[in-house]
């Protein structure tokens, strides 16, 4: 992963797409294995649970094989995306993964405040006042709209418990 100053480097579209086709085929194989476990033949009450998914799995593998073949045949040297762009994408995916993963422990509100704050401060480079305003304001509004007005409970953590909300 070298950083070219031109910024025009990146994975080839052809390879990514071929990889995706293989992954989809793998998914199809998993479906077939699962269906075989559930039984794909006829039982006392008609077709058994694996009957339908088994053929779905077969269709997934067949169509992926065709897609794979098409990519290898028609693929050109086009880029899937530049590394710089992919880094942009990862700069959203990784914080979101941490956000989502910590939610069961911290609750929605604390995690959201940190998440929004991080995003605005480090990616958007806003002043702390603006950052705090939005990062605190949004969860508070959310609390009133969802939990108070529409009575939809949201995940809470130790802090909410301590506050007694």
């Amino acid at each position: 992963m070298t950083t070219h100053s031109s910024g025009a480097a990146g994975p080839k579209h052809k390879f990514v797409e071929a990889g995706i086709a293989l992954l989809i085929a793998l998914f199809g194989a998993v479906v077939i294995v699962g269906s075989l476990k559930a039984g794909i033949n006829w039982g006392a009450e008609g077709p058994r649970a694996g009957f339908f998914p088994f053929y779905i799995g077969l269709l997934i593998i067949v169509s992926s094989a065709i897609n794979f073949w098409h990519v290898l045949r028609d693929g050109d040297g086009e880029l899937f995306a530049e590394w710089v762009q992919l880094r942009q994408v990862m700069s959203v995916v990784i914080p979101t993964a941490i956000y989502v993963g910590s939610m069961p422990f911290t609750g929605l509100y604390l995690a959201s405040i940190i998440f929004i704050g991080y995003f605005m401060r480090w990616l958007g480079k806003y002043r702390w006042v603006t950052v705090l305003g939005v990062a605190l304001g949004m969860p508070i509004i959310t609390y009133f709209i969802f939990e108070r007005y529409f009575m939809v409970p949201l995940p809470k953590g130790p802090i909410e418990e301590w506050l007694g909300i």
Binding site: E17, E45, R48, I56, V92, G101, L108, G124, V152
Partner: protein, 502 residues
């Protein structure tokens, strides 16, 4: 005649003060959703679905469908002013809308877009009013084989009509079916495809898939492209509106044609996006101003907008009368019906008259209100787009998380949402269509049930799907739709050889 009486009852329901309030709220939220990149109609409705759990079902569906109308209107604003399609179905609107805005005719373009959207929707609603009850009463006689044939037709039209390569459509669709199969098998009560994970006992909820695939995936794509707004100012005054309205009747033929294209594409689940492109393409070929298309021709705004809105509205016809949604957003609305305890399909017209006709009446009113709201408030909505993406993006992500959590009050679903998001990003980049995937998750169980029940009746013979004229007709239509692109190619080749011979 009975329909008219029912419709008036519907208006009485829709005109209750609470429902009018909900309608306006839905429209405003919908336009905001339509304007914001990364928040589309389908996942916007999915995120806000939990808000309606405590409402009566009629108000709930009115609000959600109004969000949908609002999103359809909103997509046009960003396309014309900023050259950024807020929704996939408004891509075709940018071709002529943005050049018009650059020439200082943004007001005309917006008025034309909104008005033709309204015309398209109105046409589709009138069609729904007249046709839906007939289809529903007809569908009441359907057995399992006929039901499966309808699903078959719906999915085949996807393969044949979508612009993505057919085998990618099939792969995406079958993944949806496979995901739908995970968990408890509804017929035998047996567990399958869970591989011992207790989280998978209940299978995959399609709402999570919608929020992930369309919401998170869309944000990732927007992040990759990097957003730079350089856009025109929006101002519509009454004079421009009236002037544009005066010029619109000239394009009645384009509008009518686009209405038909839209309705057709909306009922067969091809959706609003291909409808808008097809309508634009045909208008360009047929119109005497065809050479001006792409340089700021008002007809190039009218054609795709009319078709997109007609298709978006018509997508509710099969959802209401057959229980087969014509678009991802219609699928989310159908999911809502199930959550409120209503069984979508022909029985709705018998058992839930107030609900169905309230919804249909609200379509008339919602689109009228929508037109008024967007005409008067364009500058406000355009201002939303000036809020930088680094503020909007985390807020949307948090909203998506809230939406995903509140479906089943499960944090596992929120993680699943992110996985779906990354998958959606990759699939979309590789040109796999997402709509059939979502529709297959929604309809998978029902399609399978119908399929297995039909086979049970016939002791495993596939002949049951061609056992009577009705079911054979639907199946043959499905097969034609499946091989449509091949058939079309054959025709063109035939014509070409004939002209070559002559």
């Amino acid at each position: 005649m009975e329909e008219i009486v029912n419709l008036f009852h519907g208006f009485a329901v829709a005109l209750q003060p609470f429902n009018i309030m909900v309608m306006l709220l839905g429209i405003v939220l919908g336009v905001i959703i339509g304007v914001l990149p990364g928040l589309g109609g389908a996942n916007g409705v999915a995120i806000l679905l939990p808000l309606t759990f405590s409402m009566p079902p009629t108000s709930a569906i009115i609000m959600l469908s109004c969000i949908y109308w609002g999103a359809l209107f909103g997509g046009a604003i960003t396309s014309i002013l900023f050259n950024i399609p807020g929704e996939p179905w408004s891509v075709a609107t940018t071709f002529d809308g943005y050049p018009m805005a650059q020439q200082g005719k943004a007001g005309e373009a917006l008025t034309a877009a909104f008005t033709s959207s309204f015309v398209g929707a109105l046409f589709a609603v009138i069609m729904i009013t007249l046709v839906a009850p007939l289809v529903a009463s007809f569908a009441l006689q359907f057995g399992p084989a006929e039901k499966f044939a309808v699903y078959f037709l719906a999915f085949c039209s996807f393969v044949g009509l979508s612009k993505e390569p057919p085998f990618k459509t099939i792969a995406a669709m079958m993944m949806g079916f496979a995901l739908a199969a995970v968990g408890l098998d509804s017929i035998t009560g047996q567990l399958r495809l869970t591989f011992g994970f207790t989280e998978l006992l209940n299978g995959f909820d399609f709402l999570i898939a919608v929020i992930g695939l369309f919401g998170i995936g869309e944000i990732l794509i927007t992040m990759e492209e990097g957003l730079a707004f350089k856009g025109g100012k929006a101002k519509i005054d009454l004079k421009v509106v009236l002037q544009t309205w005066k010029s619109l009747p000239r394009y009645w033929l384009t509008m009518l044609r686009s209405c038909f294209i839209g309705c057709w594409m909306g009922i067969t689940p091809a959706g609003a996006t291909p409808a808008s492109f097809m309508s634009y393409g045909i208008a360009k070929r047929v119109s005497k101003n065809g050479n001006n298309f792409g340089k700021g021709e008002i007809e190039g705004v009218i054609a795709p907008e009319t078709a997109a809105h007609a298709a978006g509205t018509a997508a509710l016809l099969p959802m209401l009368s057959l229980g087969v949604p014509g678009s991802p957003t219609a699928a989310v609305l159908l999911g809502g019906l199930l959550i409120w305890g209503l069984q979508p399909g022909p029985m709705l017209f018998v058992e839930q008259k107030e609900f169905v006709w309230g919804l249909i009446a609200s379509m008339y009113l919602g689109n009228l209100f929508g037109l008024l709201v967007v005409l008067t408030c364009v500058p406000i909505f355009a201002a939303i787009l000036r809020v930088p993406f680094s503020i909007i993006a985390p807020l949307i992500l948090v909203l998506c998380a809230i939406g995903a959590y509140s479906v089943h009050s499960s944090t596992f679903d929120v993680m699943l949402m992110l996985v779906f998001g990354v998958v959606g990003y990759l699939l979309k980049k590789c040109n796999y269509p997402l709509a059939p995937l979502v529709l297959a998750i929604v309809l998978g169980d029902k399609a399978e049930e119908a399929f297995r029940q039909s086979l049970l009746g016939s002791q495993g013979s596939l002949g049951i799907f061609f056992s009577n004229p009705l079911v054979s007709t639907i199946m043959v239509l499905g097969l034609i739709a499946l091989f449509w692109s091949g058939i079309q190619e054959g025709f063109t080749r035939l014509r070409r050889t004939r002209t070559a011979a002559a």
